[in-house]
């Protein structure tokens, strides 16, 4: 009973990290049309940025800010100097996926070359734990859940109420029409890289905080459940990604009470496959998500 309870607790934390990452990932794909397989490695890079910030004496919160900003800046640069270069030469969806796979390998191995293959860890404030129901959380874990809720509320408000957010949704559904409305879609796409990169960086720091140690391959491995969550919810749909993250986060952690933890990813994909059998477009289709935003 209490094992299930605490695994639900862990599930919520995993779901929170997944949600931040998956919303960023799906937003990036929805607006820019690039399925960025280097996303996980940018998460890792953000975690390293936070790690070096703490080594330089920054408090944890400041290190998290630094990590998020690193994620944002690196994502924008990656698009500006790599992806858009290929896109301008006519690379389409699949060719572009190969480019992002290449970028992923370069970024990950580049980090291994520079930072080394060793596991490092962020200094989590020792000691204090908090009992919430049957589960016990550390301070940083509670902060991760709170940050995820905040990020989700922020993304929701941005997409729903601001001009920029509406323009991002407009660009995602119909870029030609967006241009004929006078939108500089290139700048809107830049903004989408910035925002999704910020979420990517935040997720990277949260992941590093939650795993006690991480290495240069950590983000790349985590990308698999991120993609599962995004696809489960309906790729390109921020609300779907939130829902997908919750389902996959909870299911993988709760499954640990029944099967070996090494099957976590298998469980995530079993759920994905079953859902896609019945709803190939993901839990929330485009129409459903638009309705959800509207009401």
């Amino acid at each position: 009973m209490s094992i299930v309870g605490s695994s639900i607790g862990f599930g919520l934390i995993t779901a929170s990290i997944l949600a931040i990452a998956a919303v960023g990932f799906t937003l990036q794909f929805g607006v820019t049309n690039i399925l960025n397989l280097a996303y996980g490695d940018i998460m890792t890079a953000a975690a390293f940025a936070a790690y070096f910030a703490t080594k330089g004496g920054a408090p944890l919160w400041l290190a998290a800010v630094a990590g998020s900003l690193a994620g944002a800046v690196l994502s924008v640069l990656l698009n500006r100097f790599v992806y858009s270069w290929f896109a301008r030469r006519g690379a389409k969806l699949f060719a572009m996926i190969m480019v992002t796979l290449g970028a992923s390998l370069v970024v990950q191995n580049g980090m291994t070359a520079v930072f080394g293959p060793d596991f490092v860890s962020l200094p989590t404030s020792a000691g204090t734990t908090y009992q919430v129901g049957p589960a016990i959380f550390t301070g940083p874990q509670l902060a991760i859940v709170a940050l995820a809720l905040l990020a989700m509320a922020g993304v929701h408000s941005l997409l729903r109420y601001t001009r920029l957010g509406q323009a991002m949704r407009a660009t995602a559904t119909n870029p030609d029409l967006a241009r004929s409305c006078g939108m500089a879609t290139n700048r809107i796409i830049d903004a989408a890289w910035l925002l999704s990169g910020l979420l990517c960086g935040l997720a990277g720091v949260a992941l590093a905080l939650n795993l006690s140690t991480f290495t240069t391959g950590t983000g790349g491995t985590f990308l698999i459940p991120v993609i599962a969550a995004a696809v489960l919810g309906g790729i390109g749909q921020p609300y779907g990604a939130m829902l997908g993250a919750l389902v996959i986060g909870l299911a993988t952690e709760v499954s640990v009470t029944v099967v070996s933890p090494s099957y976590k990813t298998v469980v995530a994909f079993a759920i994905l496959i079953v859902v896609l059998l019945f709803r190939p477009q993901g839990i929330l289709s485009e129409v459903a998500m638009a309705k959800e935003i509207a009401t």
Partner: protein
């Protein structure tokens, strides 16, 4: 490089297309097309499939490269401008399909139409659109993908109107509508729009209806103007049907053998 020092005089209001040659890299689709739309005028471009109607639209909106000739709006040469810049300069465009943002609500679609305007102005203009198309008002929170064909088209036109364009391009606005609805859109709405001073360029496959509501008509065949004149006269021409049918046959020939023959 053509500049505005050409024939477009300072008095040229509305839209002017002069000797435009445009296409997709191969043989040009438009072979030196000229037309003028003055404020308050509806000019219809009709013609068979493959005549270059859509290419004409794309050349004006800036999504097809113009290899020679110029396009001006209000006397300003916009030939080399990006699509965004053209719309900022007063060019409104309602594409034939995908003319609304499917995942946005009616209200959001309209406010995207006024993306380049200050926020306060947008609200006023949206109110104007609602008074022009009252049937949209109760649907304001509905998502565009859930609208009927007619509602959708009104929203597409309304969205373009929020920007208060001086020139409005309508690409086959009745393509997916019932005959009754087509009539309402063309005779009531399009006509009324022009009466407010907008220069309307209407591209239509439904030639007769388009000729009935327009002031001036161009019959486009093989990327060139075959007949041009006041719509009443074009409509009254006894050979209009033959030109049209002959043109259609010619277009089919031309698409199989390069360099179609003259009729």
């Amino acid at each position: 490089m053509p500049t505005s020092s050409g024939n477009a005089g300072p008095a040229a209001q509305g839209l002017e297309v002069a000797d435009v040659v445009a296409g997709y890299g191969g043989a040009p689709v438009l072979k030196g097309l000229s037309l003028t739309v003055s404020p308050g005028q509806v000019v219809a471009v009709v013609g068979p499939n493959g005549a270059g109607k859509s290419t004409l639209m794309r050349a004006i909106t800036g999504t097809v490269r113009i290899s020679s000739g110029i396009v001006t709006i209000g006397g300003v040469d916009i030939t080399k401008w990006s699509s965004e810049r053209r719309s900022r300069h007063g060019l409104g465009y309602v594409p034939q399909s995908r003319d609304v943002f499917d995942s946005l609500t009616v209200q959001e679609n309209l406010s995207m139409g006024g993306y380049m305007l200050p926020k306060r102005e947008v609200d006023d203009r949206i109110t104007n659109v609602f008074s022009l198309f009252p049937s949209l008002l109760p649907l304001r929170t509905r998502v565009a993908s859930k609208l009927s064909g007619g509602e959708r088209k009104l929203l597409g036109i309304g969205r373009a109107l929020v920007a208060t364009p001086t020139v409005l391009l309508l690409d086959e606005p009745t393509a997916s509508l019932s005959p009754e609805l087509s009539k309402v859109i063309l005779t009531e709405h399009v006509r009324r729009l022009a009466d407010t001073g907008v220069a309307v360029l209407l591209v239509e496959q439904k030639a007769l209806q388009a000729l009935e509501v327009s002031d001036w008509a161009h019959v486009l065949v093989g990327g060139e103007t075959r007949i041009s004149g006041p719509s009443g006269e074009v409509l009254a021409r006894r050979d209009i049907r033959e030109v049209f049918l002959g043109a259609a046959a010619l277009a089919i020939e031309a698409s199989t053998a390069e360099d179609g023959k003259r009729s």
